[in-house]
Symmetry: C2
Subunit: 370 residues, 2 copies
């Protein structure tokens, strides 16, 4: 194998591919990155057998071929090389020679035969979505996926696709987030409504790999695999097996108490209340009067209370929450005001942005003593 | 005690004082910050019995007094309060009430009687120095202080003061850094030449507390204590006991090989060479010819070599170093070119900036095998 490429493009791609390498693996070869020189591209690929990340870089190929290099040594090296053309040569003993400027390196690689092949995802079903939109949808839901493995399906994000609408849903038994997106030019070809469950880890990895621009992501499915393509980068992941729960059935109706409040004031007050909440429960209390929400907390560290102005319709109730469950949701909502919909101190509260019908957050209250 | 003050000034001061609180202490009271309201100032003080940090903030004092509060709770609270006036009240049971905007907090404090008193440093000897200059002097030397306690005196930085000159020296048996500063208006009153040894931890703490401006630091000594005053902040530290070694005696003369080289090229090449140096020894080799320095390394990870252009006078030698010992020094030198002065592959090398006579770095080579 013999090729040359530009350092900046290579580094940019290495920084993405390295995210697919898991530090803890029983298969030592997976600590490596597969380099393949072919058709005037250098293709880099890493995988932990759950997720695979592929990046292509323009390269001048003198001799095609492939090799596996240590992800640690290779990425450190590319990062530290001068900004110049990098020349690679490998021999039949898997020795890699790298030249750049006045520097010359020799490192040993491994045969690419031992490395898992890049899976082919048949593009049976495909749609495209702006990467900033997809990133926002994941950020607004993924924090709700279950962290424990008692119900593995809940460690993923449900994605429902129906003509011009995508719904993403995550829930962990204490809270649930639903984000909807509607677009007229979503589907690339016609297909029936369907849904998949994407592992939470894949979704978070994808957020880290997506860039901050409006380029499209092409999403394809086949069998139990999903493929995300963004320009020269591909993320391939397994989907979670099993049926997701009927989440619509648990959303309460007939609210008795509806409150509108400035989001930033609420975040500030909850954040301060959580300082003096017990470390274990993060319990903070909401008490409503006709003009104000009084947020309070009380623990061995001390006690606090803060008043926030509100508009309220309905009953003046008392209700308590885990402050973390409120803050995580409020911080992903991009709306000046939010609406809190409550029934009583036992039933779940629904939070929705006032300026956006496409997001719903549901959270269970904590039982008040006495 | 009853006073009010502005949130931003208070936060700024808390962020400095908190650095004096050590997370590991056998005396629980030292996890606290002493607050004293007096003479229209709130004085905050923290100490770990080695270093003490005091900050003053303008305050409106209604009732003088003092109390100790948990550094963790208090600093979190001040950080998260809205930007507004903060009102403090304490009662005889050491309960602290804090009001700010629509927020009200109650936390428990402790009697100030158990807290160590702020030491008085008699200003027998005093000089003043620009804080950016002092920061640079510390940064250029402190990385050389000994990390192990076999010779405690070497864990400090020697500061020698002689009329219009300050010398700072640190050494650990493998390398030594000397930074000189000359100023006509250094001394605030006449005194004889003298020297002290400042603990390395104090010096590093001071760097973290000093701001990025040309304000003066007033330095005073008495007995075994040193006091640094920067505007409303004081850092008080013990000095190290004992005689510092006669460092001038170990500086070699009569160099046989003098090399001038671009500093950034050298740093880049050493940085890359260290990638493939053994993790344990960091050993990299220098080989000189009449136009170039060839830097190379070789380990189980692979091997590399890089050529850097030089001007050389004298012998063409081979010499090896711990790359970390070179990089740490080169990164604090602010000069485009540096001079490397060598005798042979066994004696120490001296590095000096070409554009600055006031810095000297000495480093022992590593023995080459064979």
């Amino acid at each position: 194998m013999k090729f040359s490429c530009d350092k900046i493009s290579l580094l940019n791609a290495v920084n993405k591919v390295i995210k697919g390498v898991t530090p803890r693996t029983t298969l030592p070869i997976l600590q490596g990155i597969l380099l393949t020189a072919k058709d005037n591209k250098l293709v880099m690929y890493s995988t932990d057998m759950e997720i695979g990340i592929e990046c292509k870089v323009d390269a001048e190929i003198v001799e095609e071929g492939s090799i596996v290099v240590s992800s640690k040594v290779f990425s450190d090296l590319v990062r530290k090389l001068p900004e110049n053309t990098i020349y690679f040569t490998t021999d039949q003993d898997y020795i890699v020679n790298i030249k750049c400027g006045l520097s010359e390196f020799t490192i040993s690689g491994n045969s690419s035969e031992e490395f898992p092949e890049i899976p082919e995802v048949l593009k049976e079903i495909t749609f495209s979505i702006n990467q900033n939109v997809l990133k926002e949808m994941i950020k607004m839901t993924s924090f709700c996926v279950a962290q424990d493995m008692t119900r593995p399906i809940l460690t993923g994000i449900l994605m429902e696709i129906s003509k011009n609408t995508i719904n993403m849903v995550a829930l962990d038994g204490y809270r649930m987030a639903i984000k909807k997106y509607i677009s007229e030019d979503l589907l690339l070809k016609e297909f029936d409504d369907f849904s998949v469950v994407i592992p939470g880890t894949t979704a978070n990895e994808l957020v880290r790999i997506m860039e901050d621009n409006d380029d499209n992501v092409y999403v394809s499915f086949t069998g139990n695999q999903i493929l995300f393509e963004i320009n020269d980068t591909k993320v391939i992941s397994k989907l979670l097996d099993g049926n997701y729960m009927n989440y619509k059935a648990v959303i309460p109706k007939d609210f008795k108490s509806i409150v509108i409040i400035e989001k930033d004031d609420l975040i500030g007050a909850i954040d301060r209340a959580s300082l003096l909440a017990s470390n274990k429960s993060n319990l903070i209390k909401f008490t409503f009067n006709e003009r104000e929400l009084i947020i309070s907390s009380n623990s061995e560290k001390g006690k606090m209370s803060e008043r926030v102005n509100i508009d309220i319709e309905g009953n003046l109730i008392e209700i308590a929450f885990n402050s973390r469950y409120l803050l995580e949701a409020l911080r992903v909502i991009d709306s000046e005001k939010i609406k809190m919909n409550m029934i009583n101190s036992i039933n779940p509260m629904i939070i929705t942005p006032v300026e956006d019908d496409d997001y719903l957050y549901m959270v269970l209250p904590v039982k008040l003593n006495g």
